[in-house]
Symmetry: C2
Amino acid sequence: MTVPSNPPAAPPVTAPAVTAPALDSPALQDSAFLRACRGEPVPHTPVWFMRQAGRSLPEYRKVREGIPMLEACRRPDLVTEVTLQPVRRHGVDAAILFSDIVVPLKAIGVDLDIKPGVGPVVARPIRSAADLEQLRDMEPGDVSYVAEAVRMLVAELGATPLIGFAGAPFTLASYLVEGGPSKNHEHTKALMYGDPQLWSQLMARLAQITTTFLQVQVAAGASAVQLFDSWVGALPAADYAAQVLPHSADVLGALGETGVPRIHFGVVTGELLGLMGEAGADVVGVDFRLPLDEAAHRVGAGRSLQGNLDPAVLFAPWEAVEARTKAVLAAGRTARGHVFNLGHGVIPETDPDVLTKVVDLVHRESARA
Amino acid sequence: MTVPSNPPAAPPVTAPAVTAPALDSPALQDSAFLRACRGEPVPHTPVWFMRQAGRSLPEYRKVREGIPMLEACRRPDLVTEVTLQPVRRHGVDAAILFSDIVVPLKAIGVDLDIKPGVGPVVARPIRSAADLEQLRDMEPGDVSYVAEAVRMLVAELGATPLIGFAGAPFTLASYLVEGGPSKNHEHTKALMYGDPQLWSQLMARLAQITTTFLQVQVAAGASAVQLFDSWVGALPAADYAAQVLPHSADVLGALGETGVPRIHFGVVTGELLGLMGEAGADVVGVDFRLPLDEAAHRVGAGRSLQGNLDPAVLFAPWEAVEARTKAVLAAGRTARGHVFNLGHGVIPETDPDVLTKVVDLVHRESARA
């Protein structure tokens, strides 16, 4: 497809319906991905990759050339193309909306940008009650271009599910409080530990924004959502339970009313998996550090798992990739349902042909089992 | 002290004795730090901070001005001054040799440098059997300037223990294989998973180098050692057990013959703590994610714990720092012995006065208990 150099005019704002017509498609609802999310028997283990739409693909690098990340996320035609690329190339069982964690913040007017090689940079970090004024409630019309992209995607994808995408309140808070990516999250933790009331207000506002952002995607036809709490592994379990879980639970609870499966993922979350399930996930994403059988034990019955091949393994010779893919599948059989994925996002230097081979292997191996 | 602008001539090489005279000092052996390491009753909980000698101190920034890191590590007078600074300022219960993880590699001739803002950069990354030739055995004479610094320090420190410093084989391997700091360790894991035999040869060479580097420090008078496996939390437990633990155990086993306590630390090691103890540690360092009572359960009886105040907490108001310091002390009472520390290194922007206040609080609180 061709990508016009100017963003199209925003479509008229419409109030989102709770369930979009596409969700009623029997073939879609019967897809391996949605069945695994619900813990139903599957013809094969479904597979997709976090960051499957991205820099590992030459066709992605081509269409993104010269287009800044946040501009790309606001162009429905470009979002559609980039989201579809890994589905076409790898034959994955689900697409995930191409977006960025800070898109909803930018959409309500927070002054931020994504700097190449750095990440999101926030002009005025939030560290006081006055700073909170930067965060107003999100209205569906703020992200009409996202709804438009989802509608275009659902029309193209047919029976392949589209996963909606959002960052969780803690991870959004970390970017806003630090003013950018952070190794130690020291200002975020100083606020959380030093002013729990302000922290709670900040998290409540972010929960509203995230909820609306995901509701818009479901209303437009996304048939699952993934809530990414990328940085939450920096917290001990007790702090997560007291100061993060209630807000993530507000988001996941509201999404539960739409009926779509809710996936919840973060890295370094071995100690948090049970709590992340309790926050309201139907599917708990597991990073590569913990075998899925141990994760199933921590998450408990009644929830499916997603994961968890180490993305670094894809740099090893094929024999090693094959052995470890099979080991993930074997450990995943102990879970209620298993969506095969990496235990972290695709590393940009990954050979995309290896990803395609992993998809084929997962399908072949799991169909035989 | 004044720092000459040229490094002093290397002292004559002497074969290290297994135990240095300073270790016989009753006051030193009776110090709170060494007693806690051995699990004996203490007058107060001893405290020191990882990276206590470093950029958080204005006096450190002053003496390091214009002197590259690796040059600083090779100058016994500078190492002595920098190592003593936090002892003078904070009244910590132990000093740790100022060094860098790549110092022993540089000492045997590996072509590498530490670039400010980046970290160690290796000219020719090790990814094949031929590349291994860069790693010859270490002789004590290769690091005579380190022995000299330790001797100077022990003379100055009196009854305050000096902890010897070295990086563990896995973390050294990661720098060598990646060619520098790495987020995903993909080349390291590709080598480990793809060529276990070459991996084992690499790790065996690094174990020899690390062992000699620490033996030299103990022979010169260090009364404990800490083996830093900074990056090992990137591995699942099964891979750690099969491909890393045996080599770390070789290092810790050899050091055990010297009779000094061996501390072993890494970050994101919640799943590895038991194995890191089994590798031969007398004291297992715990990062900030896991409460010490849970860590004590995982590590088992017969080993002390070190940790684990979150260094980010030091950016919160004092009331929060105080509450969390007391919580760490309370959880630490469940361990055989407890050395209070941070759960990761001091963040450079930390207010050093807060560190001093934490030392005072730990001493006061634990003496009362």
